[in-house]
């Protein structure tokens, strides 16, 4: 064997099995399976033929052509050479096929497509983002224009004054209601000479009339008092003031009711428990408060104070000019949406650009891996080529050594001169 010049570490049978296993596992890189020099000598029975022919004085001293034994040697080596060539061709073909799967032009074309896709993807996202942003821009522009027109139409020179949120104001109103109900129930439980809980329905009715009506009227009508249009100011503003006056009168009415109910002898004079409403109206129409009890005056003061607090709270909820706060809020909200949309588009564009740039960089990594594989394939082909050359060199040296061995033994075994070509290089 060509690779069996090392020391014999294994039993011949084990060596044969290992050799066959190696050839089976790695047919492409397994070395040529060719007998060793000694095996060839045995196979060709060179020693015997050289001695026999020598004793027979063959080839003749005057012979100029190689004898049959030398021809056999050359033929044996030539068959090995052919076998090596065939194997080498097979191995190179396998590697060549692998190489053909990696065509530089195809790889570059593929990369161009992928790079083009990345750029096209980014451009599509950028275009879509700009179109989306345009829609928000137009909406914001409309709101801004509406605000501008509103300011011109109503000759407003200062920005609207309104709180960030109305939630706190509505919370304050809820608190007012609770406090007023609590206080009113206290006043009426004394008047009714009943339990505190029994006075709660009356207290709720008082608060709904007092704070409820005040809030609704203030919310929808109060700002009309500040309108540029005098007609609106007079009509709606006048209506508002009238409603608030009614609320104050209602409070006075309830103070009288409370006063009447807490008067001494009320139960005796009114066993049915009904309050003399006609008398109350008569006293009110006379233009006098006419309350008997200090606590009833106190009740009247408390209810009117809560009414005033409700008016102030609703006033602070928005800009004094009717509709101005709402208009500016809408414009502000649209502007904030615009700013958010703009930031979002910037973020999307940057992210898309980075993503696609990264995809392009990743192609570089993939290309590097393909190039490494190609280098490996080419390296393997060069290695096979070197091995093949080495094999052919060894076969050439075998041929020379076998012929030299044959001639030497032949020469030693004969009594006549060997042919002259024995002295030439085989």
């Amino acid at each position: 064997m060509l690779i069996a010049h090392s020391e014999d570490l294994f039993h011949p049978i084990v060596k044969t099995l290992l050799k066959k296993l190696f050839h089976w596992l790695f047919p492409a890189i397994a070395p040529l399976d060719f007998p060793s020099l000694e095996d060839l000598k045995s196979e060709l029975r060179l020693r015997k033929k050289a001695i026999t022919n020598g004793r027979r004085e063959l080839p003749a001293s005057d012979s100029t052509e190689p004898d049959e034994v030398e021809i056999q040697i050359r033929q044996r080596i030539a068959s090995g050479r052919q076998k090596a060539e065939r194997k080498h061709e097979q191995q190179q073909q396998i590697q060549q096929e692998k190489l053909e799967t990696f065509q530089p032009s195809a790889v570059i074309a593929d990369i161009k497509i992928q790079v083009g896709n990345a750029v096209a993807d980014f451009k599509a996202i950028a275009n879509r983002a700009v179109v989306d942003l345009h829609k928000v821009y137009e909406k914001t522009g409309l709101e801004q224009k509406a605000l501008h027109d509103f300011r011109i139409k109503h000759r407003l020179t200062a920005p609207a004054d309104y709180p960030e949120s109305q939630l706190l104001h509505w919370g304050f109103i809820a608190l007012l209601l609770v406090i007023e109900i609590t206080i009113s129930a206290g006043f009426f439980s004394e008047g009714l000479r009943a339990s505190y809980s029994a006075a709660i329905p009356i207290a709720v009715a008082i608060s709904v009339c007092n704070i409820g009506i005040t809030i609704v009227a203030s919310y929808f009508l109060m700002r009309q008092l500040f309108h540029r249009n005098w007609l609106r100011k007079i009509v709606w503003g006048g209506l508002y003031l009238a409603i608030i006056a009614c609320v104050v009168l209602i409070n006075l009415f309830f103070a009288h009711v409370r006063d009447a109910m807490s008067a001494p002898g009320f139960r005796i004079n009114n066993p049915s428990g009904f309050v003399p409403v006609n008398d109350i109206f008569a006293a009110m129409m006379a233009g006098s408060l006419g309350l008997q009890s200090l606590k009833s005056y106190l009740f009247l003061g408390v209810t009117n104070f809560f009414c005033l607090l409700a008016i102030i709270d609703v006033f602070k909820m928005d800009d004094p000019y009717p509709g101005y706060g709402k208009r500016e809020r809408k414009a502000d909200q649209a502007y904030e949406e615009w700013i958010e949309a703009k930031d979002d588009v910037h973020t999307r564009l940057t992210a898309s650009r980075e993503k696609n740039a990264q995809a392009i960089e990743e192609l570089n990594t993939a290309l590097g891996q393909k190039m490494m594989l190609r280098r490996k394939n080419l390296g393997l082909m060069r290695s096979l080529e070197d091995k093949h050359r080495n094999t052919l060199d060894i076969l050439g040296s075998y041929e020379r050594e076998l012929i030299a061995f044959y001639r030497k033994l032949n020469k030693e075994s004969r009594s006549t001169q060997p042919p002259k070509y024995f002295d030439e290089e085989p």
């Binding site: 990369i111 750029v119 801004q144 080529e385 050439g396």
Partner: protein, 57 residues
Amino acid sequence: MSIDTPNTLTSSRDDEELGQMQRAYDSERVRALEDMRQAYAEAVAKIDKLSFTHDSP
């Protein structure tokens, strides 16, 4: 005995071929990144054109 088998797969040729491929890719990459940078700049310019004078009247 010399056996003459032409070996065309020389190291320099491989390196040249792979080098060409790397250069082709590099130029493609530079062109694509520049293309994308321009598209980005155009998009940003379009966005920046859209603005409001959001202030007091």
